[in-house]
């Protein structure tokens, strides 16, 4: 390994630091200067410690040390295999090295937790030159964006001494408005994923970056000679102008070169639909907040797809109720399988994916857009919807789903146009994709060329074709015909296996770059940390083939922006951009021209015979198309509707399940929340076969089988490899999203699935209150009918026995159930903020998941067991489950004033603070679990084993230093983010002022895109939380227990269409 070059690399880096050394800081979330210096900070600070832990070996830069280490096979082996990954080893593996290591490490750790034994000798490692603006012990926030498909979510990233630890939404960014989603929240874990590729390799042998540069330049010469014939680039959807410019540059340089794109989970329907409607590719943007009536044609626009976070904000802002006189928007959803959007709907119609088009045609016909189609069985529904849409001309909105075909999108455009919504609730812009193409065509061409041996050099990044390409393309064999494949990816994945070169790609928190959001807004991606390993950005790789290689991303980006913003004081603009996280008013302007399109022009729709099963492919709600497969937080994140973790399953409707006898049953281990035995089915589809576990899903359209994408990966890493089944294996180019002619055969095998909530029935208890807007207007107090809540004044104790000073803050939380659609952002945010460990599938099956906030999913209109109705077991068939109303309820610690848990703790490890917090003191806890038994809400979580990973160095960087890392044998639970409370309180006290409302924001609250969670001081009558609690909808779960929770809920209110009720 040539070390000089690495030194050069480093000096290069260093050089930027110097030249920006003098810049002043603008605000708390200061600009790039600090950001770029942070790396130095972390080299000096954390990694030194990490290295120390790794082994006593002095070095300068982490990655340089790593290079040295990498040559030591033992160490590589250690780093790759021995260290536990996010999921801990199961207990029944026998005593291995790590158990003894645990024994020792544990004793140390416990010295920490228990306060017994002498403290180990610790070193203080100060900076050599402390970065400007960095105050030790104070986190800094930097604005950046996370590129995702045809969107980029604006983020503020919390950094502790140069370690990004927590993702927050950027209020100034149009795609976030302060909210985030689970993917964004979990992205910080990807940064520290120990399975990330750490160096450049050629056929698996380690190469230095310079060696790659040399070979690239050599290749470039050859390519030039052929004008780039045989030079291909395959990417995912790209919205980054910088990256696009680089590619375009190459295409200019090599005229015969080609750029292909492949995004597996999104259909071309959107693009082609726009083409049908407007004659060319256009980007569609919704103004959800302006819509009174929304119809979703199989669109999960609240959870995935461009702008989902923004749309969620806007959508739920229209559903906030301040009193009986306030109004709500209305959402109709037509979909084959329940999504969070569907679960939020006021009216939901389960239809087979193929029937959604029929529905659209029928609706269009009803609205007089020609094409006399009709959908038997749904006329009433369609009539009601049509009427409602008509009634709200100009304030209604029809949204077509990402997985639906061009026709549906075109019809949606047409209907919107016809209803006069265009320009009001929806508008078109130039595509945000740098180069919109038909992805299917694009990859088909590539495969053809590869097969014909026309491809000589292939660069692949941003997509994983070996895993995701339609299996009829047989990408794997064809790629072998390419002489030189360069794979750029964060992990050494399936595609990397088939590539000559693998360039370890930098995480977006490590690189400079840019990206456009769903509405075209341009944002700068600024790094929070220098690359942890010898990684590089895709742009650098492309540049390596250009005529001016080695230009750093930083320079390239600044040059590009300079060019784009000539004239204005660039440095000022630059700092403002970095500070705000967006390039001011860079959003695309709406393009004129309504849809010139009539339903008549459509070819007759192809219909599927009712007796045939329809197989549909959908991105997994947790790990999307597989790109997050190695992210433990997302793997262990209960999927919003099914509540499954660590696996995907072939989802079938209750009827189908009954027909094919696919009922699953709770195991005696964990049971209702834990291990579920589900029958294994053979899916034979398009001349291919895959074996999957079946899962009966209430609310699924009959005859539909959902095959979630993203699982069954073979090279994802320790966490993601060989989980679930690979749906891509039965996915062919002719039927990318909807396939028929397949069969589902039950085998006698059984498979264990981990499910965190099996029972969906409230058993007639006062847990989740819900009603319709009508009911609410009639009786605003409906949530308190048959309330058994005892009067607060009724108590054996004298009032002065309750020591809550009225002039001091009393922390409380209100959760508006009307606004929760179970999107899971809060769950991951909490996990990230509070150092919550991942426990692995086996432990979840034992009922030991650790999430401090869980989201309970309930189906209503299923009478409880006591009144002889449904038992609450989803595998039992009941007509009530064909299309149940679904509700979500986030349950953090309820912070009861009369906390049942406190009374029974023998050591006083959980007691009340003066501000009414139910404090949990880990270091006092001895783990009797009595508190958990006595907690009626079961929000306490116990470290049954050593779930925390104390060895893996990367995770040490990930952790939030503000929160104790719990170890084995200790109870833990939600603390209302007491660390945030303390920090704000301290600042306020220093300024001798009261804490302002909204100054303290809990992790879940700040992550929630729906603003469903509100935290504050209930002693302050003007606080948001007090106002919410003052509403009549406000109620407490199981109030009759008189635990007096500080966390209360606002009854869910839906706004169904009275006409529809009649229908």
């Amino acid at each position: 390994m040539n070390q000089r070059e690495f030194m050069d690399e480093h000096n290069h880096e260093h050089h930027h630091v110097q030249e920006r050394g003098e810049l002043r800081i603008l605000s708390a979330r200061a600009g790039a200067d600090v950001a770029a210096e942070a790396p130095l900070a972390k080299h000096a600070l954390d990694l030194a410690a990490v290295r120390g832990k790794l082994q006593a070996r002095a070095g300068k830069q982490y990655w340089r040390t790593l290079e040295e280490l990498a040559e030591d096979p033992h160490f590589t082996e250690l780093l790759q295999r021995e260290f536990p990954r996010q999921a801990p080893s199961e207990w029944d593996e026998g005593v291995d090295r790590r158990d003894f290591l645990k024994l020792m490490a544990a004793s140390l750790a416990f010295a920490g937790l228990s306060g017994c034994g002498l403290p180990p000798r610790e070193n203080i490692v100060p900076y050599v030159k402390q970065p400007e603006g960095l105050v030790l012990g104070k986190p800094l926030f930097f604005a950046t964006v996370m590129p995702f498909g045809a969107d980029a979510i604006g983020l503020l990233v919390e950094s502790h001494e140069g370690r990004p630890t927590k993702i927050e939404g950027n209020p100034d960014h149009p795609s976030s408005l302060g909210g985030t989603n689970a993917f964004a929240q979990a992205s910080v874990l990807d940064l520290y994923d120990p399975d990330r590729a750490q160096l450049t390799t050629n056929f698996g042998d380690m190469r230095s970056w310079s060696q790659f540069l040399d070979s690239a330049q050599a290749a470039a010469a050859a390519i030039k000679s052929t004008e780039g014939a045989g030079f291909r680039i395959l990417t995912g959807t790209i919205t980054s102008p910088l990256l696009a410019e680089e590619i375009q540059g190459l295409l200019k340089l090599y005229p015969k070169a080609k750029w292909h794109q492949w995004e597996p989970a999104v259909s071309d329907g959107g693009r082609e639909g726009a083409k049908l409607a407007f004659g060319r590719y256009l980007n569609t943007v919704y103004r959800v907040e302006k819509a009174d009536v929304i119809l979703s044609l199989d669109s999960d626009f609240l959870a995935v797809g461009p702008g989902n976070v923004r749309y969620m904000k806007e959508f739920f802002r229209r559903r906030k109720l301040t009193g009986p006189d306030s109004e709500m928007n209305r959402l109709y959803v037509v979909e084959p399988t329940p999504t969070v959007t569907g679960a939020t709907a006021d009216h939901r119609l389960p239809l087979r994916a193929s029937d959604v088009e029929l529905f659209a045609r029928a609706l269009a016909a009803k609205l007089g857009l020609g094409g006399g189609a009709s959908l038997p069985g749904a006329e009433k529904w369609i009539a009601a919807v049509a009427a409602d849409l008509q009634k709200h001309r100009g304030s209604s909105l029809v949204v077509a789903g990402e997985q639906q075909g061009a026709e549906v999108h075109a019809l949606a455009h047409a209907i919107n146009a016809a209803l006069g919504n265009s320009g009001v609730t929806v508008y078109q812009t130039e595509p945000v994709e740098a180069q919109p193409v038909n992805h299917l065509q694009s990859i088909t061409e590539l495969c053809a060329d590869m097969d014909a041996g026309k491809v000589d050099t292939l660069i692949i990044f941003g997509t994983n074709p070996i895993y995701t390409a339609p299996h009829d393309f047989d990408f794997a064999t064809k790629i072998t015909k390419v002489r030189n494949t360069i794979r750029v990816s964060t992990h050494f994945d399936e595609t990397a296996e088939y590539s000559q070169w693998h360039i370890a790609e930098s995480h977006f928190l490590e690189t400079w770059g840019d990206a456009r959001a769903f509405d075209g807004t341009l944002s700068v991606i600024q790094p929070l940390i220098a690359p942890l390993y010898a990684t590089h950005s895709a742009r650098e790789v492309l540049a390596a083939f250009s005529d001016k290689p080695g230009v750093s991303d930083y320079d390239a980006l600044r040059d590009r922006l300079k060019a784009a913003n000539s004239g204005a004081d660039f440095e000022k603009f630059w700092r403002k951009t970095l500070n705000d996280g967006v390039v001011a008013n860079s959003a695309f302007t709406p393009v004129a021209g309504a849809a010139k399109f009539s339903a008549d022009s459509l070819p007759p729709a192809k219909t599927i015979p009712a007796d045939q099963l329809e197989f549909i492919f959908r991105p997994d709600p947790s790990i999307y198309d597989g790109r997050f497969a190695n992210n433990g937080w997302l793997q262990e994140l209960p999927k919003p509707v099914t509540k499954l973790v660590w696996d995907n399953a072939a989802l079938v409707s209750s009827k189908t399940s009954e027909k094919l006898d696919l009922a699953h049953k709770a195991a005696s281990r964990g049971g209702e929340h834990g291990q579920i035995y589900s029958p294994v089915v053979d899916v034979s589809l398009s001349n291919s076969k895959v074996t999957a576990a079946a899962w009966t899903l209430p609310g699924q359209a009959d005859g539909v089988v959902v095959l979630p994408l993203g699982y069954g990966r073979t090279h994802a890493g320790y966490t993601g490899t060989n989980r679930g089944f690979n749906a891509y294996a039965v996915r062919v180019s002719s039927a990318l999203f909807t396939a028929t002619g397949g069969t589902l055969k039950k085998t006698d095998a059984e498979y264990s699935l981990a499910c965190t909530q099996y029972h969906f029935n409230m058993e007639g208890r006062k847990i989740l209150a819900s009603g319709t807007l009508e009911e609410y207007k009639k009786n605003p107090n409906f949530a308190h009918e048959e309330d058994e809540q005892p009067d607060k004044s009724v108590s054996l104790y004298k009032p002065q026995d309750f020591p809550y000073a009225p002039d001091k803050p009393a922390w409380a939380m209100a959760i508006d159930l009307s606004s929760c659609n179970g999107c899971n952002a809060c769950v991951v945010a909490c996990q990230s903020e509070n150092n919550i460990p991942v426990v692995g599938k086996d432990q979840v099956m034992r009922g030991r998941e650790m999430h401090w906030i869980r989201i309970d999913r309930y189906y209503t209109h299923t009478p409880s067991e006591t009144d002889g109705g449904h038992s609450g077991d989803p595998s039992e068939y009941s007509p009530a489950l064909d299309n149940p109303e679904t509700f979500f309820q986030p349950v953090p610690c309820q912070q009861c004033e009369n906390a049942p848990c406190e009374q029974v703790c023998p050591v006083g490890a959980t007691v009340h603070s003066s501000e009414g917090l139910n404090d949990m003191v880990y270091n006092r806890c001895i783990g009797t679990r009595y508190c958990s038994n006595n907690c009626p809400y079961k929000v306490r979580r116990f470290n049954f084993l050593r779930f925390q990973d104390w060895e893996t160095p990367q995770f040490k960087l990930l952790r939030n230093p503000e929160v104790t890392v719990r170890s084995r044998g200790v109870m833990e639970k939600c603390t209302y983010c007491v660390q945030r409370i303390s920090n704000v309180r301290i600042e306020a006290e220093k300024q001798n002022r009261a804490i302002r409302d909204g100054e303290i924001v809990t992790a879940c609250e700040s992550a929630c895109p729906a603003e469903a969670i509100v935290f504050g001081d209930q002693n302050d009558p003007n606080s948001r939380v007090s106002k919410l609690k003052a509403q009549q909808r406000n109620y407490t779960i199981l109030g009759e227990l008189n635990a007096r929770p500080r966390t209360t809920y606002l009854a869910a209110v839906r706004n169904p269409n009275p006409e529809m009720e009649k229908a």
Binding site: E122, I124, V128, G137, K138, S914, L917
Partner: protein, 269 residues
């Protein structure tokens, strides 16, 4: 008489051999009748066939002493344990650690009178007081003592851009979240916890840093409150009027009540 006398030795003699009391013997002799009876029914008073006791007489005292010993040892043991965990051996109080550079606070603070905040810059704003970067040392030592041997590590650190690795002296457990700034801002001076640093040639931990010690102040902060100007004054000592002065300051700083200050989440998260 003779008979009587005669029979004395055989029937009594041996018998009285050991303990014979002439007086009693005389009495016995004087009463031939009784003696006769004794003789006639001789042997009914059995000679005491001596059998050795299972335990020697000393066993009695031994038993009592051993009981006493157990009691004493138990008390002693407990005293040692509970005293021990409070002793410097356990708390590392007064323990001087071997540092890469024998930095003297006495010299810098006491003699040169450098303000604490010159090095510990973040003490007023952040949880951590902050250990100065090498650059801070070099501010002076690029000029002063810029070639003395014992400062070589500093220069080396600066030139090679590697941190000086100090050994931690004041170590709180990981689950304790102490915040310097709030204490300094609310009238608790450095020396209250760190002792008179200006008289420490080498740094050591002046207090136990045990929870009990923290509570002593959190339950009664008045005893340690000082005016703003004295916060960084190493020689400050509570005056005779501290009691009422403390109350005034507490009001002025509006220190939170004991209940707030002794809530678990004040220090633990």
């Amino acid at each position: 008489m003779f008979l009587v006398c005669g029979c004395i030795p055989e029937s009594f003699g041996g018998h009285y051999r050991v303990t014979v009391d002439p007086a009693k013997l005389l009495i016995a002799c004087e009463e031939p009748a009784s003696a006769a009876i004794l003789v006639v029914r001789g042997g009914t008073i059995k000679r005491n066939e001596l059998m050795p006791q299972l335990f020697h007489r000393s066993a009695n005292s031994a038993a009592r002493i051993s009981i006493l010993a157990v009691v004493i040892l138990a008390t002693l043991g407990l005293t040692v344990v509970f005293g021990g965990v409070r002793s410097p051996n356990f708390t590392n109080q007064y323990l001087i650690r071997n540092q890469p550079i024998q930095f003297s606070h006495k010299h810098h603070v006491g003699d040169d009178g450098i303000d604490c905040r010159y090095c510990h810059t973040s003490v007023e704003v952040s949880a951590t007081a902050g250990i100065p970067p090498t650059r801070t040392c070099m501010n002076c030592h690029s000029v002063l003592y810029n070639n003395v041997g014992y400062l070589a590590p500093v220069r080396e650190s600066y030139s090679t851009d590697t941190s000086i690795q100090w050994v931690k002296v004041h170590r709180l457990a990981d689950y304790v979240y102490f915040n310097h700034s709030i204490h300094v801002n609310k009238g608790i001076g450095c020396s209250t916890c760190h002792g008179q640093v200006n008289q420490m040639p080498l740094m050591f931990q002046a207090n136990t840093l045990q929870m009990q010690w923290c509570l002593d102040c959190h339950r009664n902060p008045e005893q340690n409150l000082r005016e703003k100007k004295d916060i960084f004054n190493m020689d400050w000592k509570p005056g005779p009027d501290q009691a009422e002065k403390g109350k005034l300051l507490a009001a002025q700083y509006n220190i939170r009540g004991v209940r707030e200050l002794t809530s678990c989440s004040t220090c633990h998260r």
